[in-house]
């Protein structure tokens, strides 16, 4: 990217016109310090203190007890494994569908491009709770799919549809499609069409164009999609609670149960802080990879 530095005079003039940046930033930054940074710091502090049955934390010095409990108890280890499995499987499915859909929208949809994009945004704007609830109606024991199968003569309903790991994966993979599609679409839309045309003229087939031009240039969008999808997937707890049962019990459900139902702040905050670290790591990695891709393609 080439950017020409603006003359200093212009910036000085802007300060004269608008005043000092602090005037604009005190309120937003203050709000984030009080309601985001302070709670996250306190979260870390509580997770490093001995657990307590009556209060937020017990007496005593800093300890890694809560983390040790999470990492050594079979129950929590199982929860971590289930979460990683469900989040990763759903990510792969939703990304595969999203990249396919983004390609069609960006290069093949012609006049349907805008209407389909609007439908995608509409699907994204509906309340998550409503979407998950609607799937519950479909997947239940007496749900639409099972009773439909019964009518077709298969009178042995599929028990496993609701309250299973598969149900959580289905619901999550579908509800995250708009999310995975839109950033990839935006990146593909920015690709210079003449590149594809000249590749075509020089005899490159569809796969060559896809793997050598489209996917590398869409990579920053794909990385954004991964952050936008993977982090919420890991901390998901509406779908696990509403359609997951015991087989689909994830970290989010564990945090919510420990803190809201059991008052176990120690384990709850330790799990939350682990999620926060994972978020930071995923964001940093995606940012780094997106930058490398941008630099190497520039």
């Amino acid at each position: 990217m080439v950017s020409v530095a603006e003359p200093r005079r212009s910036w000085r003039r802007r300060r004269r016109l608008h005043g000092h940046p602090a005037k604009y930033l005190v309120l937003p930054v203050g709000l984030l310090l009080v309601l985001l940074i302070a709670p996250m710091t306190y979260l870390l502090v509580v997770s490093l203190r001995p657990p307590s049955i009556t209060g937020i934390s017990g007496p005593g010095g800093p300890t890694l007890d809560n983390y040790e409990q999470v990492l050594t108890t079979d129950f929590y280890r199982q929860v971590l494994v289930t979460s990683a499995f469900i989040a990763t499987t759903s990510l792969v499915i939703t990304l595969a569908i999203g990249i396919g859909l983004a390609y069609i929208l960006a290069f093949r949809a012609d006049r349907l491009e805008m209407p389909l994009l609007l439908l995608l945004v509409l699907a994204d704007q509906t309340p998550t709770i409503t979407k998950v609830y609607a799937w519950r109606i479909l997947l239940g024991r007496q749900g639409v799919i099972n009773s439909g199968l019964e009518r077709l003569g298969l009178d042995d309903p599929i028990d496993a549809l609701l309250f299973s790991r598969a149900a959580v994966i289905i619901v999550l993979s579908v509800t995250f499609i708009p999310f995975a599609t839109i950033p990839v679409y935006a990146a593909m839309k920015a690709i210079d069409l003449s590149l594809l045309e000249s590749a075509n003229d020089l005899g490159a087939g569809f796969m060559t164009r896809l793997t050598r031009i489209i996917l590398p240039l869409a990579a920053p969008g794909i990385f954004i999609a991964i952050i936008l999808v993977y982090i919420p997937l890991f901390s998901e707890f509406i779908a696990p609670t509403m359609v997951g049962g015991t087989g689909g019990y994830m970290i989010g459900s564990a945090i919510s149960d420990q803190i809201l139902d059991n008052g176990n702040w120690g384990v709850g905050t330790a799990l939350s802080f682990m999620l926060l670290l994972l978020t930071a790591a995923a964001a940093a990695l995606s940012y780094y990879l997106a930058r490398i891709k941008q630099l190497s393609s520039a």
Partner: protein
């Protein structure tokens, strides 16, 4: 190719159509077969005190959050696009953080803070957390507009003797109005729909998503859940169309809406 597209949109929309169909079904059991059309669940929902309170609370919170969130978000957008200063990238990273950090973790943190400071949980605590988590969406949308803004117009006005506040009122604000209205509608839907942050900071209050969540195990309440959910869905779809329409009406028309639309959606999240 079109089979794939049709299948994807069917997965996205068929569950919602079935939900809407059941809301009109004349039966207390939410299962096939359909027993005929009836609006009884809509009138039952209207008579239900809990439903009215939950939807009313969501409306109240959203209506309070919108003006504050748009103001704070616009201030941040001005601060971040119009100045150079040390720590600018740190401030930008901080403002972007709520778009990435999981709502669950933010909710737990806010609950922890409120209980440590003995602040009782109420609609106000929900609202405060909603403002903190939603203003970065406004900042993203308004910044996108401010960056493309032709500043020489402002400088010309200034050279011609206009006061800074005249420049703001006559030149800057009129250009920002579509972005501001779009952000307001977006934040309204965002706040109304948000489950996770509200769930952790609500205490004994209910909002629409919390009400749905706590009623899915009650078979007798399900037809009412269907009716209210369908109604809310309808209103949300109308709002989204309105955003779309507003952005299309801008100078530049259809093409001006296109780049903003992905921008709108990438700032939305679905984890609650």
């Amino acid at each position: 190719m079109w089979v794939f597209v049709a299948a994807v949109f069917a997965l996205l929309y068929v569950p919602l159509f079935i939900l809407a169909a059941f809301s009109l079904n004349d039966s207390i059991i939410v299962a096939l077969p359909f027993r005929g059309f009836s609006f009884e669940w809509y009138s039952a929902a209207l008579d239900d005190v809990d439903v009215r309170e939950a939807v009313g609370n969501s409306l109240l919170v959203a209506l309070a959050v919108v003006p504050l969130s748009v103001t704070v978000g616009t201030l941040a957008a001005f601060g971040l696009t119009r100045f150079r200063f040390r720590l600018k990238s740190a401030v930008a990273g901080l403002v972007g953080a709520p778009l990435v950090v999981s709502w669950l973790v933010m909710g737990v943190g806010a609950l922890l803070l409120f209980s440590a400071l003995s602040i009782p949980l109420s609609l106000k605590t929900i609202g405060a957390v909603h403002i903190m988590a939603s203003f970065p969406l406004v900042t993203a949308i308004v910044s996108a507009r401010l960056i493309r803004f032709d500043r020489s117009i402002e400088e010309a006005a200034l050279d011609l003797g206009a006061l800074p506040r005249t420049v703001l009122a006559r030149i800057v604000l009129p250009q920002l109005i579509p972005s501001l209205v779009a952000s307001a509608l977006l934040v309204f839907a965002w706040s109304f729909n948000n489950f996770t942050l509200s769930f952790f900071t609500a205490g004994f209050e209910t909002t629409f998503p919390i009400w749905v969540y706590s009623n899915v195990e009650h078979a007798r309440a399900l037809p009412i859940v269907n009716a209210v959910s369908t109604f809310v869905l309808g209103v949300q779809i109308l709002l989204t169309f309105l955003v779309w329409y507003l952005l299309r009406l801008r100078p530049g028309g259809r093409s001006a809406a296109a780049p903003l639309l992905p921008g709108l959606a990438t700032t939305e999240r679905t984890d609650g």
